[in-house]
């Protein structure tokens, strides 16, 4: 990882910023539009289902509050991981990287449990508009969490083999940008889907 994609080109950077960071920020901008369109679809179709089950029949707010808390904590772990890698403390860097990924997996486990439960209660993609919009929106977010978990575990394994060091702090920082973004999206979804039923 000592050579990054942009390294050879970065003889000078016109802005003084890292190209990879600008790439990630712009990508996040694009992702905002993606989630924005999905959220709009969810809101447009809210209350339009002609058959049940309806959101108020199924949504388990206490349970999701716990998994939301877990995901929030994973962002804290991410901050700690980056701080550790930046100061060259790879031992704790590895611990926090793994913990971030682990809490992400716990969140995903909660989502799998929730989805399975809903299917048992008779809500699938095809049941009604609530089923379609709910599974698509939270599923897209879950897929983003899954990509983040794979990314973080890859960084963790690299660190295990000594191929991720203080010099690659920016790589961890960029993964962190992505992770925090996915976390923020969930806060929005949690508010719109669960709190404002």
């Amino acid at each position: 990882m000592s050579h990054t994609e942009a390294a050879a080109m970065e003889v000078h950077s016109a802005t003084g910023l890292s190209s990879r960071k600008i790439l990630m920020w712009t990508f996040i901008g694009s992702e905002c539009m993606l989630f924005g369109s999905l959220i709009t679809t969810y809101l447009v179709y809210r209350g339009k289902s002609v058959v049940g089950p309806y959101p108020e029949d199924l949504l388990n707010i206490p349970f999701i509050t716990v998994t939301t808390f877990v995901l929030l904590m994973s962002s804290l772990m991410m901050v700690l991981a980056l701080a550790a890698v930046q100061r060259g403390d790879m031992k704790w860097g590895k611990v926090w990287l793994f913990m971030t990924a682990f809490l992400g997996m716990v969140f995903l486990g909660g989502q799998v449990f929730e989805f399975t439960h809903f299917v048992h209660e008779g809500l699938t993609l095809k049941t009604n508009l609530f089923g379609g919009t709910f599974f698509l929106l939270t599923g897209t977010h879950g897929a983003h969490v899954a990509v983040g978990v794979i990314w973080l575990l890859s960084l963790f394994l690299l660190a295990q083999r000594g191929r991720l060091t203080q010099a690659n702090a920016e790589t961890v920082e960029i993964a962190g940008l992505y992770w925090h973004f996915v976390d923020v999206v969930w806060i929005v979804l949690f508010t719109l889907i669960y709190l404002l039923v």
Binding site: M1, E5, M9, T15, I22, G29, S30, L125, K126
Partner: protein, 609 residues
């Protein structure tokens, strides 16, 4: 693969850096922005001809009333694929060809910020284009229009795989476009030469930057629409099923929130090209540079607030129609600003009447006509008479052919000498221009009247005795000549490759950095990265120390080595697409595996060897 890659890189690492190694493998694995630009250009022009042939077939069918040359089913496929091809497979990648070849040179960089991501964008576009067109061989091409309105696209009304080809193909092309646009945003923001502030950037680079932002912001909306449609077709969701509470207009909103900015994605690169060419051929700097930049930004910004002018006829109500009429008319202001700036640049200049300027002037005049008819149906009341008639067909072709394609041809005549190192024939170029201009107008001007007389678009024939015959025949004859004019261009290019005059570094006495290096440029573009002190560095007096040129005492710069992984990653996505198309999920997983393998190989392969 890595062995081949390493050998190629060794060959290109030291003294031979300036020259290319040949062979197909060096093209397949290239990450050089110039080669990628050439590949974009060649494939885009190929699909431009494919889309053109589709159009000519439709014109043949419409040449006489109650014609039976083409049956309604094929006609639906032709107009759908003509629109889809011209927008996504011809104009956008042709612009991308220029982004790739010209922008890094214009900003004084050696390549784009992420060369392998760039190769990935190209291969994904190319494979996606083949995927979409493969539909012709497997049960017919998409046939629900380039806009794919719900619920015409539902499995009930469109069984079979036609719409699936369209939905999945567009998603693939969207990923390619977004990846390319992200790359160009970072490249332009971060790799500008020393001293090139934003307000010193060439206009084409500016318009590339704005277009890239539009792509990144607009494409997610259509992506979501496509996902909803794919779920409806594949998993039986009810997003566009009115009986279950679904709203077919949601598709139209999502499509046009993308679709109108898409018009500017197609148009702005052309505006940038013309803004480069007119000053060079008038021998004076662009009049009101800042106005042209800011009006470009304003056009892009306003472009997100006008989408419902495509939906005046669906019954959104008088308030919405009034608001969207007003915002649409507002866009005429920044557009008019640009036109006045071009005219003011020409005014009092010492004009050199060569082919690139001819096409630029053709662009301005045709674009004004297209703009005026656009303002006509910006008014909702007027649009209700014109929508879904040939009036709209005339309008869109005055904007996208008379406008964008004339500008793109201006760009081709202007920059091909830089790309190949040889000059195109000016005489043949002017011949091409006059035949194209006249036949374009013969083809499309009568369609205004056909539309106002009530001839509906997207209909495979018309009855005799309605007064449509003469103008349709005229349009068909014009279109055949228009198609033939492309042969003059191809002949000109072939002639140039055989015996074109050497172009030299700066054949047009241009002012921007791409003209400061050789034609074609060396692999590394600039041995010494340039420093600029003004908007027109090659015209400025103080270039003595800032344009060191090709100083042989400086060692060849190291360039990124070739890589097979971008193509492999793109292949993974196409395998996923094929699996989704046929709903064979094992194939999807194979595709995911190939993609993951490609991405990991990519991430761990050093950029330089």
């Amino acid at each position: 693969m890595s062995a081949t890659g390493a050998t190629a890189a060794e060959g290109g690492d030291h003294s031979h850096e300036g020259t290319y190694s040949g062979g197909p493998w060096s093209w397949i694995t290239t990450v050089d922005h110039k080669r990628i630009g050439v590949m974009y250009g060649l494939s885009a022009f190929f699909f431009f001809l494919v889309g053109g042939i589709e159009a000519l077939l439709m014109r043949l069918q419409l040449g006489s009333p109650e014609n039976t040359l083409i049956d309604p089913d094929l006609y639906n496929q032709l107009f759908t694929m003509h629109g889809t091809t011209m927008v996504f497979l011809a104009i956008m990648p042709l612009s991308a060809a220029f982004f790739n070849f010209i922008v890094p040179l214009q900003i004084g960089a050696r390549d784009v910020a992420f060369p392998r991501l760039n190769a990935f964008s190209f291969w994904l576009f190319f494979l996606g284009a083949l995927f979409m067109n493969a539909s012709f061989l497997f049960g017919g091409a998409p046939d629900a229009g380039w806009f794919g309105y719900a619920n015409l696209t539902s499995t009930q009304y469109s069984p079979g795989m036609r719409i699936d080809f369209w939905v999945i193909g567009l998603m693939v092309l969207g990923v390619s476009s977004i990846a390319g646009a992200l790359n160009f945003i970072v490249t332009i923001i971060n790799l500008r030469a020393e001293g090139m502030t934003f307000m010193r950037m060439p206009l084409f680079t500016w318009m590339t930057l704005i277009t890239s932002f539009l792509l990144v912001i607009a494409f997610p909306a259509i992506t979501v629409g496509l996902v909803l449609l794919m779920f409806d077709r594949m998993f039986g969701t009810l997003f566009f099923d009115p009986l279950a509470g679904g709203d077919v207009l949601l598709w139209q909103h999502l499509f046009w929130i993308f679709g109108h900015p898409e018009v500017y994605i197609l148009l702005l690169p052309g505006l940038g090209m013309v803004s480069e060419i007119i000053p060079v051929f008038s021998r004076k700097p662009l009049f009101g540079y800042a106005f042209v930049v800011y009006s470009g930004i304003l056009i892009a910004f306003l472009g997100f607030g006008v989408w419902a002018h495509h939906m005046f006829a669906v019954g959104l109500g008088p308030v919405a129609n009034t608001v969207f009429s007003a915002t649409t008319m507002l866009i005429a202001i920044p557009t008019g600003v640009k036109i006045f700036n071009w005219i003011a640049t020409l005014w009092g200049g010492s004009l050199r009447m060569q082919t690139p300027l001819y096409f630029s002037l053709g662009f301005i005049s045709m674009f004004i006509i297209g703009g005026l008819s656009g303002v006509m149906h910006a008014s909702a009341a007027s649009d209700l008479q014109q929508t879904d008639t040939y009036f709209i067909v005339a309008h869109i072709h005055y904007v996208l052919f008379g406008g964008v394609m004339f500008a793109l041809f201006a760009g081709m005549y202007y920059w091909i000498p830089k790309i190949t190192g040889r000059m195109l024939s000016d005489r043949l170029g002017k011949l091409h221009f006059w035949i194209m201009l006249v036949s374009f107008n013969v083809t499309f001007f009568p369609q205004h009247f056909l539309g106002l007389h009530g001839m509906p678009r997207r209909t495979f024939t018309y009855e005799s005795g309605l007064g449509f015959e003469a103008m349709n025949l005229m349009s068909t004859v014009g279109s055949m000549v228009l198609g033939a004019s492309m042969l003059i261009f191809l002949w000109n290019v072939l002639r140039m490759l055989r015996k074109g005059e050497p172009a030299g570094a700066n054949p047009w006495e241009g002012s921007t950095l791409e003209w400061s290096t050789t034609s074609p440029p060396p692999h590394y573009n600039f041995r010494v990265l340039p420093t600029v002190h003004s908007r027109d560095p090659l015209w400025a007096e103080d270039t003595g120390d800032s344009m060191p040129g090709d100083d042989p005492s400086v060692a060849d710069p190291h360039m990124p080595g070739p890589s097979f992984y971008p193509l492999l990653s793109a292949v993974g996505i196409i395998v996923m697409a094929a699996g989704a198309l046929t709903t064979t999920f094992p194939v999807v997983f194979v595709g995911v595996g190939v993609l993951l393998f490609g991405v990991y190989g990519w991430a761990f392969q050093p950029l330089e060897h």
